[in-house]
């Protein structure tokens, strides 16, 4: 298994590098990024200077090499060596050291990308885990119940509701919950993020409730339907007939034999969905104005903040690749027929 994980991680790193390269090329193809840094009252001289200071005048391959070096050993900003050495003498505070793994420096935020991400990540991470637990627990439970009561009222109502919820856009669900639950009916306080350090577990928990529910509802609708389909399929398997022929109780047949088989395909879906959330739930974060990675990405995109965007691509890609590896390992643990190669 360790050999498997190592090989998959190596492959993952190569994939990440390829992704970063593509992002690099795409961004530079759009024009000189220094133009955005240069600001409103940019003169050609100033632009040239900025371009040089930030190293944007070097070929893409060179910049890519420097970026890679920064990832491994860290690097210092500004990029241009002469300028930085001069600055170190005149104004040492303006020289920024970005330790490994350095994802870059955002001129716009005046922070290293790592600092940026660390600042925004807790909200996204909290939100992802919170909604993940909600949607998996209720989604699978309701899905199993719908499958067991297939064709009866409970099943029909569930299937109908999930279809409606799934069709609603996230911003609608979010705005609705915010407007009615929080503002009009005042069932919960107006949501704003409270970290565990500030408000304790309960404060953290309740501050995230509405946005987590918004996200969870959307995924839950999908998971109810998928779980229902998988359970129904597994109930037609021959081994279910065997389990019944043994004289097992219906509960045992359903949960021990039926659900176990249905969980395996759910596992791989859940892993990927969770990983995708880690890159930030843009819409939910926007609706509730939560400072997460999704908002960071939107802002960076608006400001053409290339270093931040590349950093986010790497983080998101790494999350997906890591989730894939974990899912594969779990899969082998759940299904004895699967061997990791």
């Amino acid at each position: 298994m360790i050999a498997f994980a190592i090989r998959r991680i190596l492959v993952g790193i190569v994939m990440l590098l390829a992704m970063v390269l593509v992002v690099f090329i795409l961004f530079f193809a759009a024009g000189n990024p220094a133009r955005d840094v240069c600001g409103k009252f940019c003169t050609p001289e100033k632009l040239k200077q900025v371009t040089q200071v930030y190293g944007y005048d070097q070929p893409i391959s060179e910049q890519f090499g420097l970026f890679m070096k920064g990832l491994v050993v860290g690097r210092d900003y500004p990029v241009d060596d002469k300028y930085r050495e001069a600055l170190a003498k005149s104004n040492p505070d303006l020289v920024i050291h970005c330790p490994a793994p350095c994802l870059g420096y955002s001129q716009h935020d005046a922070l290293t990308v790592n600092q940026d991400i660390v600042k925004y990540a807790p909200v996204t991470l909290s939100l992802s885990i919170y909604s993940f637990v909600l949607w998996i627990f209720f989604g699978v439970l309701i899905g199993v119940l719908a499958a067991v009561f297939k064709g009866r009222a409970l099943d029909r109502i569930t299937v109908g509701i999930t279809l409606v919820v799934y069709a609603l856009p996230t911003f609608f669900i979010g705005t609705f919950l915010l407007q009615f639950v929080a503002i009009k009916w005042r069932l919960v306080p107006y949501p704003s993020y409270v970290s565990i350090a500030d408000g304790g577990v309960i404060g953290w928990f309740s501050s995230l409730f509405l946005p987590a529910l918004t996200l969870a509802l959307f995924y839950m609708a999908a998971y109810v339907r998928i779980t229902r389909a998988f359970v129904l399929e597994s109930l037609t398997e021959d081994y279910i007939r065997t389990a019944r022929a043994k004289g097992l109780r219906t509960r045992v047949v359903l949960f021990k034999h039926g659900l176990r088989a249905a969980l395996t395909p759910l596992l791989s879906m859940a892993g990927l969905d969770f990983a995708a959330l880690l890159a930030g739930a843009v819409i939910t974060e926007s609706v509730f104005n939560y400072q997460g990675l999704g908002l960071l990405a939107v802002t960076a995109n608006k400001n053409s903040d290339l270093p931040v965007l590349i950093g986010l691509v790497i983080v998101a890609g790494a999350a997906v690749i890591l989730a894939n590896i974990i899912v594969d390992i779990l899969y082998a643990y759940v299904d004895p027929r699967v061997r990791l190669r």
Binding site: D238, P336, R337
Partner: protein
Amino acid sequence: MPDISRPFLSVENLTVNFPTPDGIVHATESLSYTLERGKTLGIVGESGSGKSVSSSAILGLHRYSNAIVSGQIWLDGTDLLQISDNDMRLKRGKEVAMIFQDPLSALHPYYRVGDQIAEAYRAHNTVTKKAARARTIEMLARVGIPQPDRRVDDYPHQFSGGMRQRVMIAMALINDPTLLIADEPTTALDVTVQAQILDLLQDLQREFNTALIMITHDLGVIAEVADDVLVMYAGRAVEYGSARALLTKPSMPYTWGLIQSVPDVTGPVDRPLRPIPGSPPSLVQPPAGCAFFGRCAFSSLVPGDRCAHELPELLPIEAGHLKRCHLEDVSVMYAESVEADRVDTATVEAGAH
């Protein structure tokens, strides 16, 4: 009310229907047969003949589908169709057990075989895990699995086809059931392994005095193991009698057709196979007359249009041998093929020199 005079297993007028969007599928229509302990009944038929459906009903598996079942299934003095779901569950796997065709799909891929067998034992006996495991190993040894104490912890995919079927047999027999239903137990297996499994089933049957229902499409298997044979076609019994009588003197043209259409390993080599033309009728709209009408070569010998319009009854032709056919004189069936065989043999002999 237990009835002493009733046979150990007595299926009476069993009818199984499935409502579908296309109409009601008449899977089994008024089927009746009996079976004593220690005896083997072979049920022969092709896909869709109702042979599996009718046997699943004995186990009460129809209770988990939308099937509509009527009739009576008396097992040891109890009508299995009248008892509650929980009472049926308690009999399932304990008094009546079943072996299925494809042991790979019939075993849960995620659980160790030992746990799956022990589960069947613990469902009906209040014993410790350890005791159940010991009993499981004992059963695995009994069905001829080498190194049972090691293999008990293996998963189904780690066994060969024949060994998997032995696992299924161990699971079915762990509670000493009085009735065992084997649904095509050797169809998925190779011939040498099939022979092993059939031998094993017969040994175990003798040892535990089990009543055995052997469902198969293979008349060869029937010939090897069955005491009585029931031939099913389009949901109904069409011929029923002792294996010897039925195989040597088949009296319903369908049975005769089955025997004639199967090649063998000993007869004349150039005997052309006489297939039954056409295919079975729809079970949603069964024909008014005999279901075999249209494929039958002898219906023209029956006066009038009786075969087309009148469903023949299952009637005795001699003691213990029943057929569902209007044809009075079965000798015409034999006459025709004996004639043909003689010609074939003659040509082979002529060709050999």
